[in-house]
């Protein structure tokens, strides 16, 4: 139906923009990762593998990466654990309030990351609301240290931020399940619990994969929450990158790590897309 002129007009501008501002930057990042920094704090365009060697040899980077993955994994699991039942409730049992409750879910989704991270910072501090509340209720006698400036705080905050991100695709997947399948299952003798595990959950897997991927990938690359709430023990891989582009001034090394992260993320997206396809039954 559509002429070549239309096709060109419609695909060319975004393609050009995306090439200049996405593809070229990634390509540049690739180039940077093979360069190095001179003692005069300038970037030297000499091509070598030093950065990659450093990454592989020094344990710091591996450890931080693994710790970041562990934090991201926990965020993903907690977000799913919190989000799935809520999505299920919303889809199957919310009745008349469905619309209102759905809006209540998406509002936190788009409200500023900073606001929410800041909120937790004020709550978890040693003079913060939670500690003073606990002392006020005589549940504790002194402030709990681990609440803030720890991986715990990072996981908690990121879970708070990314739970709505998991609720949405799971909810969408659940909504797409024809209700007569649930009735058919009951008709054939399955209790609601059996129906959930045999029919509803399997059909919701694409939504679960999408939500889990989102939570994991975004948590993995997060640097703001660790800076605000992580303390020395909560440093994540992106924080290393940030400092390499800041005070530690080693752009090439930072680029190498970023490139590594890009590769990891794209691979995860690829896997996730495959999984979703495998579990969709039109």
């Amino acid at each position: 139906m559509f002429s070549r002129a239309y096709r060109t007009v419609v695909t060319a501008p975004p393609l050009v923009w995306v090439t200049i501002f996405l593809l070229v930057p990634y390509a540049l990042m690739f180039c940077y990762s093979f360069w190095s920094v001179s003692s005069l704090q300038t970037i030297v365009h000499s091509w070598n593998f030093e950065n990659y060697r450093e990454l592989i040899e020094k344990p710091l980077y591996w450890e931080t990466l693994l710790r970041s993955m562990w934090i991201a994994a926990r965020v993903m699991l907690f977000s799913l654990a919190l989000g799935y039942p809520l999505a299920y409730f919303l889809s199957f049992y919310a009745g008349k309030r469905k619309d209102l409750l759905y809006q209540l879910v998406i509002i936190p989704l788009w409200v500023s990351y900073l606001v929410r991270a800041y909120a937790w910072k004020t709550i978890l501090g040693s003079d913060g609301v939670l500690n003073t509340l606990l002392q006020y209720l005589h549940l504790t006698s002194h402030p709990l240290d681990f609440l803030l400036y720890s991986p715990f705080a990072v996981v908690l905050t990121l879970t708070h931020i990314y739970t709505p991100f998991t609720i949405l695709p799971i909810y969408a997947a659940l909504e797409h399940i024809p209700r007569n399948l649930v009735e058919a299952s009951h008709d054939l003798g399955a209790t609601p619990a059996q129906t959930f595990w045999r029919v509803i959950f399997p059909l919701s897997i694409p939504g679960v994969v999408a939500g889990a991927t989102f939570a994991f990938v975004l948590s993995l690359g997060d640097f703001l929450a660790p800076l605000l709430l992580g303390g020395p023990s909560g440093i994540m891989i992106s924080n290393i990158v940030v400092s390499l582009f800041g005070a530690a001034y080693n752009w090439p090394l930072g680029a190498a790590i970023s490139l590594g992260m890009l590769v990891i993320v794209v691979s995860l997206l690829f896997v996730s897309e495959r999984l979703e396809k495998k579990w969709s039954f039109a």
């Binding site: 024809p178 058919a184 299952s185 009951h186 008709d187 054939l188 003798g189 399955a190 579990w279």
Partner: protein
């Protein structure tokens, strides 16, 4: 108005002869908010019979089926199966299975797994499941497709799988919610025959819901005609056709001529038509089927009534023609004549007065 000897069909549920009652629906009513969908339905369904609940959309037929299945609960009234209250159990504890309108096959399971679902849920041994599933698939001729997913088979095939999935559990009652409505005409006719013979073979009680009166006539042992939430008539197809209880039944099933007549001294008069009748004096409504009228030729036989008219429309239906004839007073009659009859403009029709059946009025209901 009616004498006690009048052979008028009634709407009281006719009890089928030699069988016992499996399902007893007693005074069931259902209201959604302010919408009254079912009013005071009472119906007994016999063991092993093929009963069709027939009605237009909005008549409440699907709601009634869902109440039996357990997906809705009646606002008032009771449903009994044998000596037990059926409506006290959730759907997964009833020995009732349903074939859904859009089949509701599980898209993530193969045909085999779909059919075996109920048995797995009941934790039957695997060997038994395999055997029963393969038997069921064979009965519906879907053995070759056992490993396929529903998206890979046609609508007609999905329908068979849905049937197998329900029957394999050996329910006491099988409910079918307009299962053939998504099929094209030829496939539909074929499935009607197959369903009927399948039911005879397995001997399970079928309750079939449809809006298609021809389908109901072809398949059923008895038909329960539902209108606006009330039962108009419950009878065998032959009886419901030849002895409709009300004007609605007469018009819904097949074609008919509704004649509003005045009876005086044993003669019923409707416009130019008149015929002998043993009924008492007064106004009366009659139903006369098009095939009970004939294009007259030559001498009229005694006892037959005649009327003149002009042909206004003729429709060819293959084996028969459906001819619309307008009488002098404006009354239009529908006559069924053998296919190929050439309708001249002016014709004379004849019929026997005893073929005119007295029917009750069907007042408007909301």
């Amino acid at each position: 108005m009616f004498s006690s000897t009048t052979p008028v069909a009634t709407a009281v549920p006719a009890q089928p002869t030699s069988k016992s009652t499996l399902l007893s629906i007693r005074n069931v009513a259902k209201t959604f908010g302010r919408n009254v969908v079912l009013r005071d339905i009472s119906l007994d369904i016999a063991e092993g019979e093929f009963l069709t609940i027939l009605g237009e959309s909005g008549s409440g037929k699907t709601t009634l089926l869902r109440i039996i299945a357990g997906f809705e609960s009646a606002t008032s009234g009771e449903v009994w199966m044998g000596s037990e209250r059926l409506d006290h159990h959730p759907p997964y504890r009833r020995r009732v299975n349903t074939v859904f309108q859009n089949y509701a096959l599980f898209p993530h399971l193969t045909v085999e797994q779909n059919v075996g679902y109920g048995l797995r849920v009941a934790k039957r041994p695997e060997a038994e499941i395999a055997q029963r599933v393969s038997d069921a698939l064979e009965k519906v001729q879907m053995t070759a497709h056992a490993r396929k997913k529903p998206s890979k088979i046609s609508g007609g095939q999905q329908q068979r799988v849905a049937l197998a999935r329900a029957l394999v559990n050996r329910p006491r009652l099988l409910l079918l919610d307009e299962p053939l409505s998504a099929l094209d005409a030829n496939l539909r006719r074929q499935m009607q025959v197959e369903l009927k013979s399948l039911q005879r073979e397995v001997g399970i009680t079928f309750v079939f819901v449809t809006h298609d009166q021809e389908e109901a006539m072809v398949m059923s042992d008895r038909i329960a005609l539902l209108r606006s939430g009330e039962l108009e008539q419950v009878a065998t197809p032959r009886e419901i056709y030849s002895r409709p209880a009300t004007a609605y039944v007469a018009q819904f099933i097949g074609h008919t001529n509704l004649l509003r007549a005045e009876i005086r001294d044993g003669i019923a008069r409707c416009g130019e038509l008149s015929w002998r009748t043993p009924l008492a004096d007064g106004p009366a409504l009659f139903s006369l089927r098009p095939e009970q009228m004939r294009l007259a030729g030559g001498e009229s036989a005694p006892g037959l009534s005649r009327v003149r008219g002009r042909v206004v429309h003729q429709a060819f239906h293959g084996a028969t023609e459906l001819i619309r004839v307008q009488c002098a007073d404006g009354l239009v009659l529908v006559v069924r004549a053998p296919g190929g009859s050439v309708g001249q403009n002016d014709v004379e029709l004849e019929f026997s007065g005893s073929d005119a059946i007295l029917v009750r009025e069907s007042p408007e209901r909301n």
